[in-house]
């Protein structure tokens, strides 16, 4: 028993119970068969616990050997919904239909991607200083990112990049390499306004100067990155400008089909009203008026935090935040305690999933982050998310189980 992280297990169990408790209230009024959401989630609990237990029991060495295979399978799974014909194209390509059950391959791809990255980056041949060495991990990340983007699911597609950064950072690769990975993306995003881009380029130059003093990199590399960023910064607005208004809109709605019909911000406003009206103690379990009037979109999936905020108030929210903090803290602790680099990296990656999803999902409900449908682990309705989350915890426990194994 010594090798089992009891706090992690307890935290997870409380989260699962709390999730069911909230879902029972958040499920849409019965009718059109959706009223069975609570029951369906309970049914999903069995495969979830089974998968979690398996992830815990199978020796990590075996899992690590199979990491690339898992990754390959997850890529194939991601391809299936893209090629299967479906009646309502843009929205359902996230799903694979298995008769009565559906699952979202992008959820499993997250874990597979972490295992593959952990194995690759902990390899003895991986040299931290070399930029060339970053190409392969980049490829591992870009593949699922691209496929998920095509579904399209913007919120989930970013997570792969976030994972890579977290793992590389933990691996202590030179800051210049991190800059090399991050800055082109930031350049792209900031290029839509000249002020933000100027700020970006100034910051970039400052960092370049700073790094050159402490972590040397070659002049050519620095110049290459500068040229790349300037190129992106100049090309982006030019290319965007050549598009017609309706083309831009088409791209924006493609990237974010959740964009509400009443213009961006309507869902956020309704969610903020729900949370704000909850006050410190909430309106009471099952009593949310915003929720009952069905003003809230996707209240049992993406906007589940609004229901918690409305019905359970600040106390409920703080409790949930605390639970997630405990979960992440345990995960990170396992990462630092493990003596095996591969496992440490995997633990960091798994914890990062939780950091990212909790922040983006909750941030969206309170208007800190743009609307990008992403489930809240253990709480949001959805079997794939639940199974993936328990697998993640199972793997963390697995790492702890054998922490002295090299």
């Amino acid at each position: 028993m010594k090798n089992i992280d009891l706090p992690l297990i307890i935290t997870t169990l409380i989260l699962i119970l709390f999730g069911l408790f909230v879902l029972h209230s958040a499920q849409p009024e019965s009718g059109s068969g959706e009223g069975r959401i609570f029951l369906r989630q309970i049914l999903w609990l069995f495969p979830a616990l089974l998968a979690g237990t398996l992830a815990f029991l199978i020796p990590y060495r075996t899992i690590n050997t199979l990491a690339y295979l898992f990754f390959g399978i997850s890529i194939i799974l991601l391809l299936i919904p893209l090629f299967s014909s479906s009646t309502t194209p843009a929205l359902t390509r996230r799903w694979i239909n298995l008769g009565p059950l559906q699952f979202q391959p992008s959820e499993f791809a997250k874990v597979a991607c972490i295992l593959a990255l952990a194995r690759m980056i902990s390899h003895s041949q991986f040299s931290r200083g070399s930029l060339k060495n970053l190409l392969l991990p980049m490829g591992i990340v870009l593949l699922p990112t691209g496929l998920v983007l095509m579904e399209p699911d913007l919120g989930t597609s970013f997570i792969f990049f976030f994972l890579l950064l977290a793992i590389l950072f933990y691996r202590k690769i030179p800051p210049f390499s991190l800059l090399f990975l991050v800055s082109p993306l930031v350049s792209l995003l900031s290029a839509f306004h000249w002020v933000s881009w100027t700020l970006f380029i100034l910051l970039f130059l400052f960092l370049l100067y700073l790094f050159s003093k402490y972590h040397p990199f070659s002049f050519q590399q620095g110049l290459l990155l500068l040229v790349l960023n300037c190129g992106i910064g100049i090309a982006t607005p030019l290319l965007w400008g050549t598009l017609k208004e309706y083309q831009k809109k088409r791209i924006l709605t493609f990237l974010n089909p959740g964009l509400d019909p009443l213009g961006a911000g309507w869902h956020t406003l309704q969610s903020k009203i729900a949370i704000g009206s909850g006050g410190i103690f909430g309106t009471g379990y099952g009593q949310g008026s915003q929720k009952n009037l069905a003003f809230l979109p996707e209240q049992h999936t993406d906007f589940v935090y609004s229901v918690i905020g409305e019905e359970l108030g600040l106390i409920g929210c703080a409790f949930l935040l605390l639970l997630f903090f405990l979960l992440i803290w345990r995960g990170l602790k396992l990462a630092s305690e493990s003596k095996n680099l591969t496992k440490s990296l995997a633990a960091v990656g798994l914890s990062s999933i939780f950091i990212y999803q909790v922040f983006v999902n909750m941030g969206m409900a309170i208007g800190l982050v743009p609307v990008a449908g992403l489930p809240l682990p253990f709480i949001s309705y959805g079997g794939s998310s639940l199974v993936t989350s328990t697998i993640a915890v199972g793997l963390l426990l697995n790492i702890r189980k054998t922490k002295y194994e090299y």
Binding site: F169, G263, S277, S289, L314, L321, L332, L341, I355, G363
Partner: protein, 595 residues
């Protein structure tokens, strides 16, 4: 293993703490600091979303005359969740609107609200609007909304081409993309339908805080209104004054159609189908049943666009095809040794008649005087196989692919068609005599006919007929150009020599003293034409006339068809004459103004 690589996960913990602290602070800000405000918004006070309807794009003629426009219409909407004393309120509203209270109640109870409201009356009179506004305190939950309605300033002018709009049906609503709401108007016919996706605007929204009684308090600062976006304007290739002339020239004839084309690029300059209808009647928000049934059950099918959907027996117009086929196969010399026309011709034991006694004719005169006996013999010399093969190779029974999704198709009866129709060997090869003069089962569409005439006049180019000249965004930016649709699609497989002969013969039809089309003459302009009188099983002959002008550099090609009108030369040719005279007079005026 390199132990230095491992470092405590402190940076990750710090990041997580920071992010979570941020989440907590923001949640607390909403739930503690702004609690009263959000609680108020969520309790009895609600946010009302008001859609501001976007005007549809306009449809204009090539010279900028607005043919389909928008006008403000008043609609009465009910917000069911703000209705108080439902029966009493609705009764009062019904008496103002002069409507059956039962009907209104039914609408409110069975209707599906669109952004919280149900429309009970559309295009309401201004006086009734004034009364409702006056009593608005007694009518909680009732609201008058202004929305753009469709308006066609020239009534039935070019009605088949413009089409009309009407409320979206349940079927259309569920199959269309998301940007429609339940009470939207949608194009149902003609350009309104074909170019719906361009004409449709994007509705705007306003967010208003309302109090417990449903009265508007203030617009929300957090959510500025989204202004509606007007639809795109469409410029047609249609020439407004020519269209007017065409409608006038067609006069009192009840049924038929006219298409005028620019033979250089395929632009449709005028398009008429008779009888027509007034799209204004169909485009009122709530179409009445009587008007609809009146139009739909009319035996003359006023909603049917004859110019694009119908096909007619071409009559003697088809002689142009027959002669071209024979000449290109080298079967018809300048002066063939044919039996002179004595008013009839015997094939087997059947007598085929001519409409006149023509005597011996040259190849050219046979067209000018439209001698049937001459063409019976051309037909026999060709044989049905070669004649129909040639006709099909001229692409006469393909669709022109004008910018209307639905287009009629012609028919050239080939031997295998006859076999299928009557059984092998159960029909006579003498059918070719009839076919050679364009009678019998053969059918051509007006569009295909005019395209063929345009090709004769322009040296053999089959130009693509089209009606869209330009699509302009509300800011005036040109989104699409019709010239992309137009231009030469393919060449007519007829030799240049034959084409020149056909063109010259057509000029003779109008200008030769013996020509059948003399009533289409225009002073100072050399006009080409061909008459056609098509027998049909449904009564009086159809009168046809095809024409182009001027001979030297053709600017216009037309087909005129008067159903059950009688002789082509006597009925259809004068209509074409009127059209051409007005067209060239007008152009002269314009060029004089320009100088």
């Amino acid at each position: 293993m390199d132990k230095n690589i491992l470092k405590p996960t402190r940076p990750f913990l710090i990041l997580t703490s920071l992010l979570f602290f941020l989440l907590f602070l923001r949640t607390a800000q909403l739930q503690v600091l702004h609690h009263t405000r959000y609680a108020r918004l969520s309790e009895r006070n609600r946010i009302k979303v008001i859609t501001t309807k976007a005007p549809r794009g306009r449809i204009l003629s090539r010279d900028g005359v607005i043919l389909a426009d928008n006008r403000p219409g008043y609609s009465v909407a009910i917000f069911p969740d703000q209705l108080r004393e439902k029966e009493k309120t609705l009764l009062k509203l019904a008496s103002i609107l002069n409507q059956d209270p039962e009907k209104i109640l039914k609408k409110v109870e069975e209707g599906v609200p669109e952004s919280g409201r149900i429309f009970v009356a559309k295009d309401v009179d201004v006086r009734e609007v004034a009364i409702i506004e006056e009593h608005h305190l007694d009518l909680p939950g009732v609201r008058v909304e202004v929305e753009p309605l469709r308006y066609y300033p020239y009534g039935s002018l070019a009605c088949h081409l413009l089409g009309y709009v009407s409320s979206i049906t349940q079927d259309e609503y569920s199959t269309r993309e998301k940007r429609y709401s339940r009470n939207d108007l949608i194009g149902k016919m003609g350009f309104e339908d074909e170019y719906e996706s361009f004409l449709k605007g994007e509705d705007g929204v306003e967010f208003v805080e309302v109090d417990a009684l449903g009265r508007e308090k203030e617009t929300l600062l957090e959510k500025p209104p989204i202004p509606p976006r007007k639809g795109n304007d469409i410029l047609l290739t249609l020439d407004f004054s020519l269209q007017n002339t065409v409608e006038e020239a067609f006069g009192d004839h009840k049924k038929g159609c006219v298409v005028c084309l620019n033979p250089g690029n395929g632009e449709v300059l005028a398009l008429l189908s008779k009888p027509g209808f007034d799209p204004n009647l169909l485009s009122r928000g709530l179409l009445t049943k009587e008007i609809w049934e009146d139009l739909a059950n009319n035996p003359d099918s006023p909603l049917w666009n004859r110019a694009t959907l119908s096909s007619y027996p071409p009559g003697s117009v088809f002689k142009l095809v027959t002669v071209a086929a024979a000449m290109d196969l080298d079967l018809l010399k300048e002066n063939p040794n044919f039996v002179p026309c004595t008013g009839s011709y015997r094939i087997g034991n059947r007598i085929f008649r001519c409409w006149k006694t023509h005597g011996t004719l040259s190849r050219e005169q046979s067209i000018i005087q439209s001698c049937d006996v001459f063409f019976y013999q051309v037909g026999l010399r060709l044989g049905i196989d070669r004649l129909t093969k040639k006709g099909i190779s001229y692409r006469l029974i393909e669709r022109t692919e004008i910018d209307f999704r639905r287009e009629g198709k012609g028919l050239i009866p080939t031997p295998s068609w006859y076999d299928r129709r009557y059984g092998k060997g159960k029909w006579s090869w003498g059918m070719v005599a009839n076919l050679a003069i364009g009678q019998g089962e053969i059918l051509l569409t007006p569009l295909k006919t005019v395209q063929f005439i345009a090709a004769i006049s322009n040296g053999g180019n089959l130009v693509q007929p089209h009606l869209m000249k330009e699509i302009r965004s509300p800011s005036g930016e040109v989104i699409q150009k019709g010239s992309a649709l137009g231009g030469t699609k393919s060449r007519l497989p007829i030799s240049m020599e034959t084409l020149t002969f056909l063109k010259k013969a057509m000029a003779g039809v109008v200008n030769d003293p013996k020509g059948t089309g003399s009533l289409a003459r225009v002073k100072g302009i050399r006009v080409g034409g061909k008459t056609g009188t098509a027998q049909n099983p449904y009564g009086e002959d159809h009168a046809l006339f095809v024409t182009f002008a001027p001979y030297e550099e053709p600017q216009i090609a037309c087909v005129v068809i008067v159903e059950n009108g009688g002789m082509g030369g006597g009925i259809a040719a004068p209509i074409a004459g009127k059209i051409l005279r007005a067209y060239f007079q007008n152009n002269e005026k314009l060029s004089m103004q320009n100088e």
